[in-house]
Every structure is written in C-alpha cells, then in structure tokens.
C-alpha cells in the first residue's frame, strides 16, 4: 500500500514534463485528434485550439488518428499484469471502438491527470494494485467524452440530432443509414468543445466491463517476437554498456584499470560511475566479453559486511525484546496473556527474496543536441525518475522525456525510490560525455546481486486461550528493515510504524479482544524494496500459519475456527467458504493427500486459497489449488483469473524454494536461476479460480494472488506431517 506519500515527494510533485508538449506536437503532425492533450478544448491538426485552461479529468487520456486508430494514454505502468488492457477496457466501454483499432501507450506529465488517486493524487506511479481503482472513473469518462464529441461532429455533418447517433464497433451510425468511422470524424470532433457533463453507462448496460469472453489486445505481439521491450530498443549509433557493481552493498569504486578491456575489439570505453564501472561496447557481446578484463578496486568502508544468517540471528534476538513501536493495540494483550489458561508460541523466519523478473534490468539514455534527455525504460514512478535523471544530468525535469516501456516482468523491481537502473543509464551516458545513446543492460547476475530485495524478517507470535477455551490474546512482533525509510516515500512511516512492514498483520481480521502488533525496524545495508504484495508476503504467512496452529491446539477445524472469528468480516468469510466448497473441504481425499487453507486481504482485495498437497521423503508436492477472489467490480474476469493464477505460482515458488542469501563475507551467494529457483512448469499445480460476484468498487488483482497460497500449503503440510513450517523456504524449513 502506498497511500499519502505525497508531502515527501516535492521534487516529483513539482515536475511538469515535456511529454505534454511532445505529444501535442507529434499528434498535430500526424493529423491526429488528441482528446485535448493539454486541456480545455480538444486540439486538432494545425493546433486550432483555444489556450489551455485548467485541465479537466477526461481530456488527456486518448487520441484518435485520421486513420481511426485509437491510442489510449495510460497513466499506469504495465509490467505484464494487464493494466493497459484494463484501462483500454474502461475507455472502450464508453467509446464503442472496435478492439482492432485500439492501442495503448504509457503517458506521463500533469499530475492532475495522471497522479495516482489511491495514493492521494500528487504522485504518478503504479503499485499497491491500484491501477484499476485510480482509473475507473477517469478513463470511462474519457471514453464517453470522446464518443460524445465524435457523435456531435457527425451530427453537425449530417444535420441530425446527436442523440440519434449510436456508436458500435468503431462506427458512428444514424437510423437514416448514414455512417462513418472514427478517422473521418476525428479532426472535426477535435474542434468541438469538450463536454462538461459526461454521463456514464448504467452498469447493467456494460458490454466490455465484466465480459468474460474479452481477451487482451496485446497478446498476439507476445507470440511472434514483435512486442518491444527495453532490451529491444535500438537507436542510431547506440552503444551497449554492461556493469561491474560493487561486490558488497554500499561499496564504491576506488580505482579501476580498464586499459586491457578498452583495447579489445568493439569496446568503446570503460568508465566509472557512482554505481560502479561500465564497460561500453558497440554491442552487448563486445562489452560482455571485455568485462572480465577490467580490474576494479573498491572502497568498502561503508559497505555491509554481515551475512544473512547473522542478520537473521540478530533479528531473532530482537524479536524477544519489546517492540520499538506499536502498530495496533486492542484491549490489554499482556494482561490477557499473563492470565491465559493456555498459550501457543511460534517464531517465523523469512529470507530475502529477489524479484528475478525475466527481463534483466535495463534502460536507454540519449542526450539530444537541444539539451533534452530521452529515457527508455520501465518507468514505474515516472515523475520521480524524471527528477532524478534531471538532477544527474544537470538539466531541468521538463527537459527529460520518458519513453515508458512495458517490461518483461517487474513485481516491484521497476519502482525504485532512487531510480536505480534509470539513474545508472544517465550516469553512464554522462560518463561517456553523451557522445552516443547508450543502453545499460544488466546480466542475470547483475540483476540477482543488485540488491532491492524483499527484506528478511523474523516474526514472534504468541496467542492465549482463557479457561473456557476462547482465544483472548494475540501478541505479534515483527522485526525487519523498513522499505521506505530514507526514501521519498518515508511519509508512510507514522509513529515509528512503516505500514509496508505491518500491513496484513496490523489489520488482522480475526476477533481477538486483546491484540497487540509491534514493530522493530532494523538498519541493515542490504537495499530493500517492495516485492509483489509487499508486507503481506510475510504477514499473511505468519498470521495464517500461526492461526492454523492455534486452531489445531484447540482441536478445531481450521475452516470452522476461522469462520467463527470472522463474523464482522463477511468478505473474508465469503471467499474462504467459496474456496473451501469448490475444493471439497471436508470430503474424502486420495490416500496421502491433504488439504490446507488460508485467507488474506491485501490492497482491499480478498483472496482465499485451498491447496491439496502430498509430502514424500521431505519433499512437498502441490497437486491442486483452488482460489477464490473478491475484488469488487470485475473489469476483466479473464485477467483477474490470470493474475490470481500467476500470483499463486509466484507465491508458491517463493515459499517452496526461493531464498537470497548473503555469505559470511556479505556477498550475495546466488547469481542465476540455478541457485535462485523460481517455480517451474512441472511444479505448477492444477488450478482453478472462482470470482465472487460483487458491485463494490473495483480493487486490484496484481498482487493479492500471492499472500495466501504459502500458508495454505503450510497448513496442508502440517496436516500431513504434524509440523508447521516456520522457517522459509520450505526446502530449508522442512529440515529444521
């Protein structure tokens, strides 16, 4: 969750990008109709528009070309989760275009237009599964406004009332038989005023939103190699750089000798930057083949030298102490615990996790002759990156133009508070004197060892029953790094509580009268970051597995025990019941098979998982998973299912076998997919996803599929073995 970060983002909040000017100019040149990019009345080819007044919400979200092509300008970044398709669906519900004519591109600029409303509106960014929520009204209104303007233009042309014109599959039609495509009307529509009052369809008339038959507009290009990623960007004269980063976090370049590498064929330069040494070549292999020939001496006076085992051991000690800060305090947990007839305790240990997206991090930088800097990358936090890039280059933010690329995965890794790879590309371009455009392309090993991990955590939990067997006390202490401390997002820390550390634990839905959740934030030099589902990646596991253990200690069925405590949380209870019913909870299973379940709310979406598991020779095999999701109003049922399936696989891989460790020397021990091991196809269970019908406001699904699969599997493993796994990943926890 990234609410209200805003006061701390002054640089980004004040950014006015050149993107706006760029788009108006290019659109005009192409003879396109931009739904008023730049505000006020829409602009037509030739720039026949009134001076922009205050921007209105629907006027910068799509453009229509003379060829009829509709390009939706997305404020939300797409790393594969389908946000572009989601926004296009919202627009097209109201616009009535044919899907064949629709394209989507990333846009950035005016925060009134693109600021994330879920975060308070003053920052543009993608995260916390908020894209559909922030876009739901905006993009529908944009589509409706465009349709009204096209219809008004046709009405004028044909001499008929606009109300008699209907729009279907990209055609404007009148009962008289007159009809036209969007392309022919676009230029005329652009001269009309943008309507102030834009009524939206009644949900009962929706044909796109909620349509289970609709498929993503962007799939085909992902099957024939034509979908462009940052790695595919090629500019005239462009060079490619590979990086040598410090071997320990916090190290910097003291000196380097690149002379041998520089003499090798195809190598153009070897340069130092504040983030490491770059070998710059005519192409990737030229740079890569020369990399080992560079000698670097590092300054490690400020480097983190502890290993992850030592870090976790310290966390475990601190978990026994009083927490630094309190995230939630109902009743008097200490007193209730002291008076409890029976208590249950557990310590959970969570490793660092890498995002390990398939496209290793990359960015392309080009300084132009007019002093503008163009950057191609996965700009998940565009305003922030623009400000950071401008700072490095010594230019104004509005001189930085961002080309927002869809990326080969992300899972949080493209949204770094320091700009990370984007900053690095500017640094390398600067270090070579801006003599050519440069692509910085990380290797898998750069990516794995580049930091920005889901932090390691230790959780201590204790529960108490009274003499009547009622759960009366719950004490939870979380120890680990803050993701946002020292970043522009540190406004998320309030009263010593980083919300991203405790989300999922401090809002425990179960009715326990005396409940305390505390946090101790640690200072470690390993750079942390949000990792798909953020705090819930560990809080869901700790709370749900512990609750399972608590239920078992009371001799209760895990489903019945939960439902009894969820009386005031009907949405949790509903997904849990639905998943349990579809999975056949309580019915006989094949020999050696066991079921486990878990439920969790993240980013206002509710998900329950039931996992069917067998354990053989200490190896866990997940055969089947049933998930239920309540994300309010469903925009794309098929995308919702895909995200829950994918989130499930992502979360399952993590708890089964993912672990990023630092050796006793402080160096990351994993480098590639042989040692850091995400889920593979053979381990993916058979899977079904059930959606709860709802007319509640829409919430996201990019992350909420992750949290509850882990505890559901652990719950099934406990049924099979009698043991709750408290050290992750399971490959480690099964042995301890």
């Amino acid at each position: 969750m990234l609410p209200k970060i805003i006061d701390h983002l002054a640089p980004a909040a004040s950014v006015k990008t050149s993107r706006r000017a760029f788009l108006v100019a290019s659109a005009a040149a192409a003879g396109a109709f931009v739904i008023g990019f730049g505000a006020g009345p829409a602009r037509a080819a030739g720039g026949a528009a009134a001076a922009p007044a205050q921007p209105v919400p629907f006027d910068a979200y799509l453009k229509i070309g003379a060829d009829g092509k509709v390009t939706i300008l997305s404020s939300q970044f797409d790393m594969g989760q389908g946000s572009y398709h989601g926004l296009a669906t919202l627009v097209n519900e109201e616009l009535g275009a044919s899907w064949d004519q629709i394209a989507v591109e990333g846009a950035t600029g005016d925060l009134k237009l693109y600021g994330n409303i879920v975060w308070g509106g003053a920052v543009q960014g993608t995260g916390g599964s908020s894209s559909i929520t922030t876009s739901f009204d905006r993009y529908r209104k944009a589509g409706a406004a465009a349709r009204m303007m096209l219809a008004a233009a046709a009405a004028k042309d044909w001499g008929v009332p606009a109300a008699e014109i209907s729009v279907t599959d990209g055609r404007l039609m009148h009962p008289s038989g007159k009809s036209a495509g969007f392309g022919g009307m676009a230029a005329k529509a652009a001269l009309l005023p943008v309507p102030k009052d834009v009524p939206l369809k009644d949900p009962k008339d929706w044909t796109q939103i909620g349509n289970a038959k609709l498929r993503r507009y962007d799939s085909k290009a992902k099957t024939d190699g034509t979908h462009p990623f940052t790695i595919d960007v090629k500019l005239p004269g462009m060079l490619t750089a590979v990086m040598i980063h410090p071997p320990r976090f916090g190290g910097t370049v003291k000196s380097f000798d690149g002379s041998k590498a520089k003499a090798m064929k195809g190598v153009v330069d070897v340069v130092a930057t504040p983030r490491g040494v770059a070998v710059v070549g005519e192409h990737m292999w030229a740079a890569l083949a020369a990399r080992d020939a560079v000698r670097v001496t590092w300054d490690e006076t400020k480097a983190e030298t502890r290993g992850s085992a030592a870090i976790l051991a310290e966390y475990e000690k601190r978990a026994a102490d009083k927490p630094q800060a309190t995230a939630r305090n109902d009743g008097d947990a200490a007193k209730a615990m002291a008076g409890a007839a029976k208590t249950v305790e557990a310590i959970f240990r969570f490793p660092y996790l890498a995002h390990a997206a398939m496209e290793p991090l990359n960015a392309v930088a080009r300084m132009n002759g007019d002093g503008t800097l163009e950057l191609w990358a996965g700009h998940q936090l565009p305003g922030l990156y623009q400000a950071i890039a401008a700072g490095i280059a010594g230019i104004k933010p509005e001189q930085v133009a961002l080309h927002i690329m869809k990326t080969g995965g992300g899972f949080g890794r493209r949204g770094t508070p320091d700009g990370d790879i984007v900053a690095e590309a500017v640094m390398v371009a600067k270090a070579i004197g801006y003599k050519a455009p440069v692509k910085v392309q990380w290797t898998r090993e750069n990516d794995m060892r580049g930091g920005r991990y889901r932090p390691a955590y230790v959780h201590r939990l204790k529960a108490g029953f009274d003499a009547a067997g009622k759960l009366v006390a719950w004490d939870h202490h979380i120890v680990g790094q803050s993701i946002v401390a020292g970043t522009p997002f540190q406004g998320l820390i309030q009263n010593g509580i980083d919300q991203t550390s405790v989300e999922g634990a401090s809002n425990l839905p179960y009715a326990v009268p005396n409940l305390h959740v505390g946090l101790t934030s640690t200072e470690v030099g390993v750079p942390p970051l949000w990792w798909r589902a953020v705090g819930s990646t560990h809080t869901a596991y700790a709370t749900e597995v512990f609750l399972d253990q608590v239920a078992a200690s009371a001799g209760a069925d895990p489903l019945a025990f939960r439902l009894a405590l969820l009386e005031h949380h009907p949405r949790h209870a509903a997904v849990l019941k639905l998943a349990a019913e579809k999975a056949g909870w309580g019915k006989p299973l094949a020999k050696g098979r066991f079921l486990g379940l878990a439920v969790h709310e993240s980013f206002h979406t509710f998900v329950a998982h039931v996992a069917e598991v067998s354990v053989s020779g200490g190896e866990v095999k997940v055969h089947r998973v049933v998930a239920a999701v309540d994300c309010g109003t469903v925009v794309n049922p098929n995308v919702v299912k895909a995200q829950i399936e994918g989130g499930t696989g992502f979360g399952l891989g993590a708890i089964l076998a993912e672990e990023l460790t630092l050796g006793a020397d402080g160096m990351v021990e994993q480098g590639n997919y042989d040692s850091y091991t995400p889920l593979r196809l053979s381990a993916m269970p058979d899977m079904e996803v059930h959606i709860v019908a709802s007319d509640a406001p829409p919430t996201g699904v990019g992350e909420p599929g992750v949290p509850s699969i882990g505890p559901a599997v652990a719950s099934a493993v406990a049924r099979a073995t009698g043991k709750w796994i408290t050290t992750l990943p399971l490959t480690r926890g099964m042995q301890s």
Binding site: M284, L288, M358, R444, A642, E645, L681
Partner: protein, 152 residues
Amino acid sequence: MPKLNINGVDHQVDAPDDMPLLWAIRDLVGLTGTKFGCGQALCGACTVHLDGQPARSCQTFVGDLKGVKVTTIEGAQGKVAETIRQVWTDMDVPQCGYCQSGQVMAAVALLAETPKPTDDDIDAALDGNLCRCATYHRIRAGIHEAARRLEA
C-alpha cells in the same frame, strides 16, 4: 567472417567464433524476438531451433553453426506454429510476454515431435523454460488445446 543461416536467409556476421548465437541474432542480424534472460541456458527465453530442434541460443556459439539452419521466433511458420500462436491469444497465455518467444519455440518443437503430448511430455519439454509470471497453467492447457486443434 562466419555465415549464419537464419530463417532461410544467409547472413555474414562480423563475429568471433565464441560469440553466443543469441547476441549475433539480436545485435548483428537485428532480430530481437529472441530474448536474453540468463546467459547460462537456465531459463529458455532465448530458445531457437537448430535444424528443427530446440536449443538455447545463449549457449550456442557462432563458430559451431556451419551448415546449420537456425529458426527464430520471427521465422517460426507452418501449421503448428500458427496454431500455437492462435491458442496463445485465444487463451490469453502471455502476461508480460518476455519468456513467450521461448515458450512458443519449445511448444512448437514438442508438438512437431509429439502430436499428442502427455503432461509428463510437456514437463520434460518445457521445464527448462522459466516464466516468472507463472503462466504455466495456461501454457500446459494451451499445448493440449493446440494438439486437439491440430488433430481435428
């Protein structure tokens, strides 16, 4: 200069013998559908066909390809490839799509050899193709569906 036959076209490339085919395809020939994921034949994103057999182009070297026909995702044609592509879009298999060139190439090779693959056949043929979005459930279903359509 070594000669590469890619998608039926000969290319003279200015490349040392030890240059991985992946980078020759991407940076010298200019076909970017084949993706870099790991460089160590661990993820399958760079899968191409060498004389019809799937291979990891990041661990295949330019000097070893005399007389070998290389097929990349751009050159994958024919009934099996087109059926896979159609099923992939009908079922919305891809999410980010970065690994899908490799998945499609691996699936095409599988169905060309084994028209009615079992789940075990699919595991054996595609377990080396990582998908971090975990689209595996749909990849498996997609291969079965493509097999059905090809049989019909």
